[in-house]
């Protein structure tokens, strides 16, 4: 079992969607980066992600990795947020037949997985229809 450090250090991103943006070209990055891949600038400032967006593409995972067996089948999609950042996550509270490219979704705080029956609980963002 991994130590909780790996989960813990991502908390600002998973819980609060903390991103950063290039001071020179303004592009927003999630997760935050140390250097802008577009212009090479190393000066980036803290930013936050928009909490709404549209589904760009989606799938329904029927054969999950072992730590997600209890949740399968579940939908996963890439969502383009209102600020242009693209984000991968589960789409929940949506019947599979209602999934559609372009559908508006918002971010909700959910349990993502748990490390067995005795390990830590892992939380983060998922998408739900608006």
């Amino acid at each position: 079992m991994p130590t909780p450090s790996r989960y813990w250090r991502e908390i600002p991103q998973r819980y609060r969607l903390e991103a950063n943006a290039c001071k020179s070209c303004g592009i927003k990055f999630f997760p935050p980066r140390q250097i802008c891949p577009e212009c090479g600038n190393k000066e980036l400032e803290p930013d936050k992600l928009a909490e709404k967006g549209k589904i760009l593409t989606y799938t329904v995972i029927r054969v999950p990795p072992h730590q997600f067996v209890d949740q399968a089948p579940f939908a996963v999609g890439i969502v383009e947020l209102e600020d242009g950042v693209k984000l991968t996550g589960q789409i929940v509270d949506c019947d599979f037949e209602d999934l559609k490219i372009g559908k508006e979704v918002k971010i909700e705080f959910r349990k993502i997985s748990q490390e067995g029956e005795s390990g830590i609980l892992c939380y983060g963002y998922k998408f739900v229809p608006v």
Binding site: Q71, D93, R110, K111, L121
Partner: protein
């Protein structure tokens, strides 16, 4: 003057009907529906727990309060279903809201009363001047043993309240608490499902404490039932709040607005707090509200509130409780419900 500056609710979309549960156990659904006035209850998805619901309810409260989360000095969350036996729910909530690190957090547990406990303490710290804003949340994903009467009511939901002294939407005029040691319902450590005392949970437990708190706070405030536009009692089933209301001299109309249990079930620590959110959703300035919780073990917290002018400005800033309750519902069959609530024994 202190009171509520923002409030919010969260209810999972899954429902299961009383008939669906009764069918499995060969029970008589009409008697539950009539006797307990229950139709259906909310059920959490496997990815929803006390913490996730508390976060979403609190975000709705923040939308209405319109304050900087860093100004929240205390985060209290009451539940009998904290996801960890040891490790606070409150720290996750505080992190998710961005209220860290200068914040006091604590998890409360007192059967169905834990939510109003958190509210009580948060309010007290605001009133004392220790903190600028305090958050109190009641949230539960409660479990009834399969086939037990509690299985028809044990539901999931959360309500969150931010207390402060400025921009108040509901002033809190009075608080009161009424406690005794009454073992009507309990869950021992390492046990998965709670036990209860059957009819003992009625007169010496629920009715005694709810009445005691209601009478006590009205006496303290010099008020009587007719002074209130709305009253919210803890709702373990549909019948108890009306019966205790009648005993105290309240009318059905005063109770109905905050009475959600027939379609929601008993959300334990979220029960009467969610009722309060439904009342605040439609309250008018000047409306007086009595809230009385109940937690087995046993005790009641009581609050007297009065809606201010600002209430109407914030009602539409986040989803209203009745609309959350009614929209986007998904009905589960018992099998799926049993899977979601981890009632099915699986291979390791």
């Amino acid at each position: 003057m202190e009171g509520i500056v923002g409030y919010g609710a969260y209810i999972p979309r899954n429902r299961i009907k009383v008939e669906e549960i009764a069918k499995v156990w060969g029970a008589d659904a009409p008697s539950y529906k009539k006797g307990l006035m229950l139709e259906e209850k909310s059920v959490p998805s496997p990815d929803q727990d006390t913490i996730t619901m508390a976060v979403e309810a609190s975000k709705n409260a923040l939308k209405r309060a319109k304050i900087d989360p860093l100004e929240i000095g205390a985060v209290y969350i009451g539940s009998e279903s904290h996801p960890y036996a040891v490790k606070p729910s409150g720290t996750v909530l505080a992190e998710a809201l961005g209220a860290i690190p200068e914040v006091h957090t604590a998890d409360f547990e007192f059967a169905c009363k834990a939510g109003t406990e958190g509210m009580f303490v948060a309010l007290g710290l605001v009133k004392s001047g220790f903190i600028k804003y305090g958050l109190g949340v009641g949230a539960d994903t409660s479990q009834g043993a399969p086939g037990d009467a509690l299985e028809y009511s044990a539901a999931a939901g959360a309500a969150a309240f931010i207390f402060g002294k400025e921009n108040i939407v509901a002033e809190i005029h009075e608080t009161y608490a009424f406690m005794t040691d009454t073992p009507d319902f309990w869950r021992r450590e390492y046990q998965y499902y709670p036990q209860h005392g059957g009819r003992f949970t009625g007169d010496p437990a629920y009715f005694k404490h709810v009445q005691g708190a209601a009478l006590g706070i009205m006496k303290k405030a010099g008020m009587e039932p007719s002074d209130f536009t709305y009253v919210i009692f803890h709702q373990p089933n549909g019948k108890f709040p009306f019966r205790v209301g009648k005993m105290l001299g309240f009318k059905k109309e005063q109770i109905e607005t905050g009475w959600l249990v027939n379609k929601l079930g008993n959300t334990y620590s979220g029960s009467s707090p969610l009722g309060l959110t439904a009342v605040l959703d439609i309250a008018k300035p000047g409306d007086k509200i009595l809230l009385v919780s109940y937690g087995s073990g046993a005790g009641s917290d009581a609050f007297i509130l009065e809606a201010t002018k600002r209430i109407e400005e914030v009602q539409d800033l986040a989803a209203k409780t009745r609309s959350i309750l009614e929209k986007n519902k998904k009905y589960l069959e018992y099998g799926e419900y049993a899977k979601f609530r981890r009632k099915i024994r699986k291979a390791e």
